[in-house]
Structures are given as C-alpha cells and as structure tokens.
Subunit: 148 residues, 2 copies
DNA sequence: TACAATACCTACTAATTTACTTGTAATTAA
DNA sequence: TTAATTACAAGTAAATTAGTAGGTATTGTA
C-alpha cells in the first residue's frame, strides 16, 4: 500500500512550480535537474496534471510550465488523484458493481470510510500549506533552499 | 494505492473465525469453501497471522484454527500489518535513512501524518466492531447469514 | 499400527504494475 | 532556419501480486 513515485514526484514538481518567483514559465529540464529526477519521466508525469487543468503549458522555445492557480487554491488531492488514479483502497468502493455483495459487505464499509478519510485529508492540504512548512523548516534548519 | 487481496482475505478469514460459535477449532477448508477463496491461498495468508499470535493452530486430524483472543481484543491493524507489511505510505516514513533529506523533507511530513492517520484508524476498529456491523446489516437486510 | 484428515513448507508461475528509457514529432522564439 | 522546448508513442527490466502445485509433518480414530 505504498504511494507511487509518480505521486511523490508530482508533488515535488508542483512544489517547484509553486515556489517559482518569476512570472515566466519554468522549463521541465530545470526542475528535473534541481530535483534530480529524469526529465523524460517528469514529462510523463506532468501530462495528467496538465489535463486536470492544474498547470498551463507553453510549447516551443522558451516554453515551459506554470501553475494555473495560486498555490493556496491547489490541494494535494488534486495532484495525487490524476497521478495515482482512483484513490479508493479497494475497487468495490469506487465501483460497487465489481462485487456482488457490496451493498451488504462489512469490510467494504471499512474501506469506504478509510478511503474517504484519506481523500479528505489530502483535500485539506494545499500547496501553500506545504510551502509554509518549508519556510518553517528552513528557518529552524538555517537552510538556504527549501527542501521538497 | 490499493489494498492487497491478502489483507482483504485475511480480514474475512479472521471474521469467519470470530463468528464461529463452537469452541472447536475451524478447518481452513470450511472457511475457504464458505468464503469462496482458494484453500491453498488462505493457508499462506494465515501463516503471518499465526506468527503474530492472533490465531492458535491445531495440527493433525480434527485440527484447525482458533482466535487466540476475544474479537473485541483484536484490532484491524493487527491483522492488516503482518499481511500488508509495513503500513507507511512511503519507505522513508518507516526508514528515515532511505533518503538523505528525510529530516528536512516537507513531503515526508505529509506522508508521515497520513500514515499515522491510517494506522490509528485501523487500530481503533476491532473484529467485534465489524461483527456488530454485520448484525446491523443482517437485521436491516433480513439476511440469514452475515456477509463479510 | 494404518489411515485419513488436517496443518505446514517450498517452489513455481502467469499476469500486472512500476519506474523508468528511447525515439520521434510538433511547436515556437530568436 | 535553427535550437529549444513540449507532446506523443512505444518499449522494457524489475518487482509485485495473486495465486497454483506438490510434497511433508502431525495427530485423532478405527
């Protein structure tokens, strides 16, 4: 029940975009380098994020990516869900028909509650919250750069 | 981020043991048949549960399995953890050394909180709670047998 | 003691998923 | 026109999942 690297890299990617000061779009290459992640892999990961409307892309030379909204208006669920796929812990939570007994199933009620809890938790945290955490850590740790 | 069938079957297995009325041990074959799960597969699943001390086994003819404690004293985390392995969402939550930056990592704080939330949730629900849910569902649905 | 029923152990396997890599096409600023 | 960038499509090695298969050990009963 581990989170995929796609989701984790996706969050780091979005954090990197969120922490960009200038209004210019950011090259993926730049993020890939600073985060130490394969650019090609990142370019696959950013597609669902673009399709969900979280990032705006600029093609061609001097192209790049920008967030479509303010970090305070993007929550973590919005990032994780398109990357991870459906967030329910068991298929029958999302697709009741996938198991004949789902309407009367006790275990299902458990996974349903738990999936909901996870989704609510992720929905309640925004990119801005994460950046705020970064700031705090940086102050304490005396670090120059944020650590994502 | 789906739960494995091992965990799900494991819970159904433990529920079946918990709902056994007689004090005699239950054959795996019986549970396998009533739950529609391969007996061989169940026999693999029950081993970690035995090793964690949740079930007592009786070998030989008329052998079988019994819960080692009352259903009210067995929580779901205890069942899921040995079957699923470490429940943290990201390796670095359980093994900080697995990533150099873990002490200052913002994402990690997220996964740490979330893993804790999941574990706390599972710890708070016992087999007896699940049986109670079964009873309620059975009353409403007019069903003769519990549905796990 | 022999037998049948049970749990226990080890190994194998097909299918799926994961975490990428590789290659090429399309787009655009300079 | 060129170089830099995103976009798209395909392949792939390793790991994981969800089992199956087959034999061994133990024990109550006839």
């Amino acid at each position: 029940m581990r989170l995929s690297t796609r989701s984790r890299y996706g969050i780091r990617l979005m954090m990197a975009l969120a922490m960009e000061e200038s209004s210019e779009p950011v090259f993926l290459k730049q993020i890939a380098t600073s985060e130490g992640i394969s650019e090609k892999y990142l370019s696959q990961i950013i597609i669902p994020l673009k399709n969900s409307g979280l990032v705006i892309t600029y093609r061609g030379a001097h192209g790049g990516y920008k967030l479509s909204r303010k970090p305070s208006e993007i929550n973590i669920r919005e990032i994780v869900e398109p990357l991870e796929g459906d967030l329910s812990l068991v298929e029958c939570v999302a697709v009741p028909g996938s198991c004949g007994k789902s309407s009367e199933c006790v275990s299902r009620s458990l996974w349903d509650e738990m999936s909901r809890m996870i989704i609510d938790y992720l929905s309640g945290i925004t990119l801005a919250d994460l950046i705020e955490r970064c700031r705090k850590i940086s102050q304490v740790g005396d670090a120059v750069n944020y650590v994502i």
